[in-house]
Amino acid sequence: MSLGIVLLAHDNLGRAAQAARIWAEAGCPVVVHLDRRVPTSGMLRLQADLSDLSDRVLFCRRHRCDWGGWGIVAATLEAAATLLLRWPAIGHAYLVSGACLPLRPVAELQAFLAARPGLDFIESAAVADVPWAQDGLSEERFTLRFPFSWKRQRRLFDAHVALQRRLGLRRSLPEGLEPHLGAQWWCLSGRTLRAILADPRRPEFDRYFRRVWIPDESYFQTLARRHSVTLESRSLTLARFDAQGKPHILYDDHAPALAASGCFVARKIWPGAERLYAAARAGQRLAPGPEPIEPAFAAARLRRTRGRPGLAMQGRLPRPGWEYGASPGPWTVLQGFDELWEGWEAWFTRATGAELHGRLFAPGRVEFAGGAALWRGALPASPAWRDHDPERFQGNLLWNGRGRVQAFCAAPGDLAPVMQRLAADPEARVGVISGAWALRLARSGRPAVALRAEAARLQRAEAELLAALRAPQARARARIWTLSEALAAPMAPLFAMAAETAPGARPGLAAAPRLARPEGLGRLLAALRDLGTPPYLAGDLDALCAPRDEARA
């Protein structure tokens, strides 16, 4: 007889009746408040359902309960007063809803509370010290007036808040109250509850809280601080909110996790959760699983608000800048490297452990590592498919390659369709040897006059990439060497990019790649310069055109 229940019900009356029955049959007196919005027929059915327990289950006067409004507090006060009037000797009163269920035998809760007489369990945190708030309203819940329903009159609600802010209207708190917030579901000692109900200043407090926003999370939480002797600021009910501020719903498959959490009461139980209801009716203990339920809720929140980095799919297509990590992990692009060295691919792969592809964005072909026709995830080496959605092609390559660093080669112009994304991606490591395209032109052996247009095109494309990589908003880690720098210290770019790709890797010099400097490079560069298309991205032209190889020629 020392634990009494205040039960608020508003829908799923069949389940609410079962919950009331579970409490009552365990020996707890129950006062049920039914939302006045429920038609009388529902009320009569609920009363009929519980008629055999009329010595222990009472129904109190009904109030209309709008979400976020005073009605819920009025209902709670009404039911609590009824409970204390009829059963003045109770040690604790527990506030539950029709969708709450005891997940451990009620006797355990009764014993737990009997061992802690006078102790109040109510989550109650000073408003100023916690950042919980939906809609940016925390302290303002107490200093503004909220005469409109948030659910039914949202525009009026928002306009009224804006107006009060604009005019600087504030209401002052009743003397001696310090606003506190916390979960709605409490378990208060009979003494504290009676003191709250019998407070001589209660009309003043009620008048004030009538216009507070979501008073069910602040009325008892604030007043308990005024009257409680010993208070544990936690709720005995496991009830969590999702990222949208809606209560998480609990299903049969949560049973092991709920049992592992060890809570006495949980909400909000899905009405179809037959196993949870059956276990509670039978007073059975659920078999605990390895994990409590909190990590599952935390993971759901993270998934809903941040998502998995680098994933684009039917439920997630972030706007640029909202990716929370544009790629699933670091990846590398190497431009010009394949022109400068021979046999470097094997060395690079060995040194870094990365999967090194050829030119994935070459015009008219896709060069997956090993010449594969289909890559992971059945990504086809089809240039038409790649060009259909180049960003997704690159995104798929990285997503499918999770767990291995992906690296690929590029030539000037290749990256144009993904350039902005590449530059904005903090996971991208980009190595460019600017002007390396001249090596390929020199190898072709054709005269400079014939190559001039091609050289200009390549240089323009490369300049665009470098500009994107050097833009102030660029976040890719770019390392850029000119051709003359790379020729002067040929292993430096390879070592640097190996280290960028696999931090901590110690590439050896064994089987080091060979520099592939074609005959006639200097001649070609000088000729281009003299024709009026200076290959300025190649770096120090004087050094490159120096008569070193000319003399030998």
Partner: protein, 332 residues
Amino acid sequence: MQPWQRYRLRLERKRWRLRALRKRRELEPVADRTAGIVPRDALVFSTFRNEMPRLAEFLAHYRDMGVGHFLMVDNGSDDGGGAYLAAQPDVSLWRTEASYKRARFGTDWLNGLARRHGHGHWCLTVDPDELFVYPFHDSRPLRALTDWLDASGLRSFPAMLLDLYPKGALGTDGAAPDPEGRWFDAGNYAISRNPVYGNLWIQGGPRARLFFSDRPERAPALNKIPLVRWHRAYAYVSSTHMLLPRGLNRTYDEWGGEKACGVLLHTKLMSGFPEKAREELERRQHFAASAEYRAYAEGLEEGREPWCAQSERYEGWRQLEELGLMSRGGWA
């Protein structure tokens, strides 16, 4: 979006709704058990032609998840599927010999039926070769999902089409069902937004890579929004790829998070595909003079097979979520 664009979409929606009313007259009731629909039933809407080998699995799959009633349109089947369905206690059946193409590939018929019978219900519009899979479907009935959607204020739920295929040659109709398992492509999908209707446009998978690798823009669309809390004012625009009003198409998150979504397991390639492709090519009742089916016929003649070393074997929804094809979103 400009007011005139919004108004244009409103007119378009009205047009599809009127058209649905007109096309509904082509449907002749065979077994009308719609009086047995109770207020909170989830309903399945489907149109089919000669799908007898799939119907039993189809009904079982959706009955298992707790669908209350099936509203089916038989477009001139001659394989006994109509009689089979007419005998089912939870199926209402209509029959029509009218043109599938002129009913915009069945969309008008189903819009018409949903308008009359779907209002206020959660309606699942799927083909007989589409098996809906949603997060936790192995432990929670469909009602758990729709209750959660209601509580979260969501009116529509997306599920992209995921083509399943056998290991080996296509076209083993009548062979034992999936002896080597059902396989799919995990990561070759292209995604973009449709600026007018606000839906995503998703392409890829085995059909894109086998039959459309040189004409990707022609590859079939895989984005679908099959589950909708129907209102009589709604209309599907083209198949179940998109709806009007277009707010129903905003089923994806643009600010980094993941919204909950499911998958439609597409068993079209699993069995009987070559026969079906040939038949549909002859009937010319599909989009763009059945160009899709022409491509299939060509590819099949060359003996192309979808299975490859990179294929994934279907194991369940958690695998699909891990691979990034679907998500629980905020549902825990």
